[in-house]
């Protein structure tokens, strides 16, 4: 990933983070909430090649770590999203090109978001954070899974085109 693309990606994630924290978090969803940020971050990780996925995951995590409402230590999201990006990168060839089938892509993104939140809970538990009862956590995970499945197809085509446009001729 070129330095220019790193700056673009960082700017994009920060803008997305502002939208998530200022607008999306104000919407009262019936079951838990929806993290547009995580859904788009995981989608972009899935679009990228091996190194690109790792850098994208790390940058997405670093920006998410800036969340003032978070109780987690700074760097926790970076660690989790980099690990998930690594999982996506090494399994990319074995599960075929997820971007070729929109349905598979949505399922993979929803799974990735859920895995990210479960990892966040697990890592938080190791660090002694209190994240609520099992029922509450299950509701948050289930709600995020549901809303990710519903909303991802809406932004996927635009995101795909935007990602294609952002690639340099060499990266294409």
């Amino acid at each position: 990933m070129s330095p220019v693309r790193i700056i673009y990606t960082l700017s994009f994630f920060f803008t997305l983070f502002v939208v998530q924290e200022s607008a999306v978090s104000l919407i009262h969803f019936p079951i838990s909430g929806f993290s547009l940020y995580l859904a788009i971050a995981i989608s972009l990780i899935a679009f990228e090649d091996h190194n690109g996925a790792l850098v994208t995951g790390f940058l997405a995590g670093m920006v998410l770590d800036l969340s003032p409402s978070s109780n987690a230590p700074f760097g926790q999201w970076a660690l989790i999203l980099t690990s998930i990006a690594f999982l996506f990168a090494i399994n990319r060839d074995s599960i075929a090109d997820v971007t070729a089938s929109p349905v598979t892509f949505v399922i993979v993104v929803a799974g990735g978001v859920t895995l990210a939140l479960v990892s966040y809970l697990g890592f938080g538990a190791l660090l002694g954070e209190q994240n609520g009862s099992l029922g509450h956590d299950a509701t948050v995970l289930g709600g995020n899974l549901l809303w990710t499945i519903i909303f991802t197809p809406m932004f996927l085509p635009t995101l795909g085109r935007a990602h294609e446009y952002s690639l340099t001729a060499r990266e294409r």
């Binding site: 502002v18 998530q20 924290e21 200022s22 607008a23 999306v24 978090s25 104000l26 919407i27 009262h28 969803f29 019936p30 838990s32 909430g33 993290s35 940020y37 995580l38 091996h50 190194n51 790792l54 850098v55 790390f58 995590g61 770590d65 800036l66 969340s67 003032p68 409402s69 978070s70 109780n71 987690a72 230590p73 700074f74 760097g75 926790q76 999201w77 970076a78 660690l79 980099t82 690990s83 690594f86 990168a89 090494i90 399994n91 990319r92 060839d93 074995s94 966040y120 809970l121 938080g124 954070e129 209190q130 994240n131 609520g132 009862s133 029922g135 509450h136 956590d137 948050v140 995020n144």
Partner: protein
Amino acid sequence: MARGGGNRSRLLLVILLVTALFFITLDLRGVSLTKGSRSVTQTILSPVQRTFSTIFSPVGRFFGDVKNFGKTNAELKQALATNKLLKSQLAEKSDTKGQLAQLKAVLDLAGRGNYKVAAARVIARGSASSFSQTITIDAGSSSGIRSDMTVISQNGLVGVVKSTTSSTSIVLLLSDPSFKVGVRIARSQSVGVLSGLGSTEYSLVLLDPSGTIKTGDILLTNGSEGNRPFVPGVPVGVVVGVDNSAASLTQTATVNSYANLNDLGIVSVILSAPTSAPSRPLLPTPNPTVTVYVTPAPVPVLSPTPSASPTKKK
């Protein structure tokens, strides 16, 4: 499983993971760099949040209300009638009126407790990306707000100030799983600890092994040293269920809070308070019923008509 790239990829992965772990270690060791970055982010976010709060407040509940589809016809009629009423209220700037009512109520509670408060509007809620339950309010250190100050609504305790910038503050809500507050039962003065569970219910554990809890018991904050983070005497909630398990050393109970944390518009941060608990509990008062006393007017005495009025004799 395919191989995960070459040596450069592995090196990149290691560098990124080590960097993340480095930041985590710094944060856990209390280095102010990481806390400062979040404070800067909050400063950048607050004007945007304020703008979005104004734009989104009428439509923010749209998705939440979708689950109310499929109600019975009677409920639908009632909803239509309510809707009509609400529309007329909307015409009268109901939003402003509602906020004013909340403000009056919360100031009333603060006044009864002799608290010096700073009122603030809720401009954002905690992110869905984290499991913590917080709100952002549009008053900060320039209004005298500092971290670890008690936050109340018209009905009682809402939470505690977690961090501040000059114009905004983040409040950790009572329902957050990491939230704990010392409470006393108004009836018996037994002391216990109330914990958030991440939902609308709370867990109470009595500290006194001989103490008893009854359903309907009212809980008030016990207060902290120097009134921070908690001032004494603020209503917290009411006991709705008691766990009488023989295995536990002390009694535990399930509690419902007085404050509705899903419907917060205006809150107050207690800047200073009397060191002792208020002389009488600051329980939420029901809306007063207007009583009109009608005193019959005295029977009017027929006055002479103007034509019959005496005239001056010339």
